[in-house]
Amino acid sequence: MKIGVFVCHCGSNIAGTVDTAQVAEAARALPGVAFATDTMYACSEPGQEGIIDAVKENELDGVVVASCTPRMHEATFRRTVERAGLNRYMFEMANIREHVSWIGKDMESNTNKAADLVAMAVAKLRENRLLFPKKFDINKRVMIIGGGVAGIQAALDCAEGGLEVVLVEKTTTIGGKMAKLDKTFPTVDCSSCILGPKMVDVAQHPNITLYAAAEVDDVSGYVGNFKVAIRRKQTYVDWNLCTGCGLCMEKCPSKKTPDPFNEFVGTTTAINIPFPQAIPKKASINAETCIMLRKGKCGKCAEVCPTEAIRFDQKEEIAHEEVGAIVAATGYDLFDHSIYTEYGGGRIRDVITSMQYERMLSASGPTGGHVKRPSNGEEPKSVVFIQCVGSRDKSVNRPYCSGFCCMYTAKQTILTKDHIPDSQSYVFYMDIRSPGKNYDEFTRRAMEEYGARYIRGRVAQVYEKGDKLIVRGADTLTGTSIEVEADLVVLAVGAESTRGASALAEKLRISYDTYGFYMESHPKLKPVETNTAGVFLAGCCQGPKDIPSSVGQGSAAASKVLTLFSKDQLESDPQISQVDIKRCIGCGKCISTCPFGAIKEIDFRGQPKAEVIETVCQGCGICTSTCPQGAIQLQHFTDNQILAEVMSLCPPLLEKSFE
């Protein structure tokens, strides 16, 4: 075999601390190496052309590039060798940047280590075999998980692109957090006026199937061919018959049901439609407060329902859908402010969250748009906003900035002045973070035109004094402590990953960070992809975001799905396990260890044997290390290939072949 070795300088990234010419020199002495050189930027156009020319001139059979991590450019160089007429698996990469030059400054030891890594790559390449991908068909349907604004945007864009869309939403209506907002920053336009029409579009689009009150139960399969089981929760109402007339809500005697849509500021009826613009506009029953479901008598709603849609005996069902791609748009949850006991949230009635305040400001909210103190129903004249409640605070395990709280607080101070002209707002803040378009101007308006008083410093304590609240904090700009007498305290709660996010991530086989936010494939260059092919991200499930960014990411995810579906067939990765049927003793160990269920037992001339289901195998290699016979081998990472790498570093002790 004739092998070519190319040692990349990567500018000074590698050449600064590795003698690349010497590494190439050392490579020339390795068995099988017919050509070795160092090159300024192997990934650049002249760099790639140099590789192609060298392959042709020297009639090379394989290529080793010593440069950066394969995560960055393995695909690039595989395409290069393919253009030179070689099989793309006759290529190996030695990582002498992340593994060598970036972690040490000693030129001599770096050069030696780089030479060792090149020797390993050459040794492996000598054992490489030609591999050929197979083609398989794509199911051009897409599932969007989560019906907030990001999911709605992704669903509409995919549907407009001609795809069949399955939208799964766990609550009884789409709209997400945005539907709860009164106004949006920095335009102060009505949130439901801009979101409502989009929600209607979802309901009316012929390409969109909406599963509300449903959750993803199980996901199997692979890119192009996912199988999803959807758990449809019981609503106790036949949604095919319900017309959303609302008669049942009027007659329901159980009027003390906690109202999650109104952030528990008000109450609702046991049978309810969450809000007037809900999509689908269907009623559902809260089993915990329904008198019929708890005590077996009542049934008022069933009596008045003109379409006889009430089903007290409804059970949850499992629906099955087959799709080719999945977009996770599961959103976020709000931080539990009661953890800060010094602020008195959950204990002092006039300390509320920003979202509760938002519902109070909303004309369709529980107070009809009137701001009232929960304790006595009076209009507050002095309102204190406390920022960073559950943001940028290591002590509550939320060191990250939630990003949108500065802006919604500024908006709420403006709305407060609009609602109560003789009121005064105070904002305790750490920094103002308002980097979006027209954002900084907006916070300035809150201060300069609407007279909100911004105090830089954290609040130490909120306590009651008679019917007032005393807010004690620091003013770090004047270096003094400060006390403000308030009628209402609004805690600007931060965002955290939605409950159940990690469980869904495991079903989708995607990664999540310490805080439960889903990990993108590359923080800069692949912001909506995941490391699982065919699964994309949109909105706050990836990290806290404002509405414009969520919508942007929803569209980006949709465009990625459309790009994926622009082909009729996908190539399968040939780097999967393969069973040597002669060596296999049918013990079944590989079947029980495979996390993907990709190995099945077959009968081969009366003997049990293992067989790999090629489209399901993810190439993790667990079966290979499990097999006592060495009968199952991961292609491109066979025992012989890995041993060749080891032996290039250590003197060979074993001569036995495992293949």
Binding site: T341, G344, K465, G466
Partner: protein, 298 residues
């Protein structure tokens, strides 16, 4: 209630002098609640506030000696009514978990402590081992009609990782015990706010400002009395109330009880065991108000 629980008892120096009524009522209440107290033999001062400001090792050695005494008496838990003693004993235990630190402390002691003794406040034992429910069942004279502001002081629960008891910002142990006694507990937002501590000698204005603020809030919340768990807090609020009035031009007349005095009262213990006569602000009027209330109830 089950058999008596036995604890090593560390009264602290103030219990011998400035807070005799706390000490006496603690002993009476513990006996009534089935908590058996075994006095540490030949205990010494914990060093109070000054010691640890000078040297952590010397300060820990003072507590180390007391912990060692408890070990040789075969006691597994020490309880103390005074939060300052509690802080010193707990902090010493906490610091001596570091072997290098413990070695320095051991060198100063005849007999080193082996870190086998748990330290708790009397309040913690009454709250956790006896519990508000059991207390409620033993109440013979409910404190109905008595609106009280519970005041914990700043060190009973803090720092939380050392003290490991109740919430550091909004403790509720005394609130629940007082409710169980039938008292009306007012929302008191400055439960863990500093009273000025020992600044009363060096900078009296600190105490008159900070303690004044505490009493002012208790008035604003319509409390008839304050309830303390710390000898120093109680002294600042009670004994110095005249000074506070003089400095703030106020006319406060707010009795400041120890929580143990009120438990004793509700359990029907003889008043002379509870030391109400030791309080500086005369509590008679407030105490009469309760009795009239309970007469009405009967």
């Amino acid at each position: 209630m089950s058999e008596a629980r036995t604890f090593g008892y560390y009264p602290g120096c103030s219990g011998m002098g400035t807070s005799m009524e706390y000490e006496r009522s603690t002993r009476a209440v513990c006996e009534a609640l089935g908590i058996k107290l075994v006095d540490l033999e030949d205990w010494s001062c914990c060093g109070s506030t000054p010691a640890h400001t000078v040297d952590h090792v010397l300060s820990a050695a003072l507590s180390g000696r007391n912990l060692s005494i408890a070990e040789s008496m075969g006691l597994d838990t020490i309880i103390t009514p005074c939060p300052s003693c509690l802080t010193n004993l707990k902090t010493a235990t906490h610091r001596m978990e570091n072997p290098a630190f413990k070695q320095k402390v051991d060198a100063l002691l005849d007999k080193p402590a082996n870190n086998t003794v748990t330290v708790k406040s009397v309040l913690q034992v009454i709250y956790e081992d006896v519990g508000p429910e059991t207390i409620r069942q033993q109440v013979v004279r409910p404190l109905s009609g008595l609106a009280v502001a519970p005041y914990y002081g700043c060190i009973m629960n803090r720092p939380p990782d050392v003290m490991q008891f109740d919430d550091p910002e909004n403790p509720i142990a005394m609130d629940e015990i007082l409710s169980a006694l039938g008292a009306d507990v007012v929302p008191f937002g400055l439960k863990v706010e500093c009273c000025g501590a020992s600044h009363g000698i060096a900078q009296k204005d600190v105490v008159t400002t900070l303690s004044g603020r505490l009493i002012e809030l208790a008035y604003a919340e319509n409390a008839m009395a304050m309830v303390a768990a710390c000898p120093l807090c109680q002294m600042n609020l009670d004994l110095r109330q005249g000074q506070i009035n003089a400095a703030n031009k106020s006319r406060y007349n707010m009795p400041v009880f120890y929580y143990t005095q009120l438990i004793g009262l509700a359990l029907g213990l003889p008043e002379k065991q509870l030391g109400f006569d030791k309080l500086a602000v005369n509590p008679d009027k407030v105490l009469r108000a309760i009795q009239e209330q309970s007469h009405v109830a009967q």
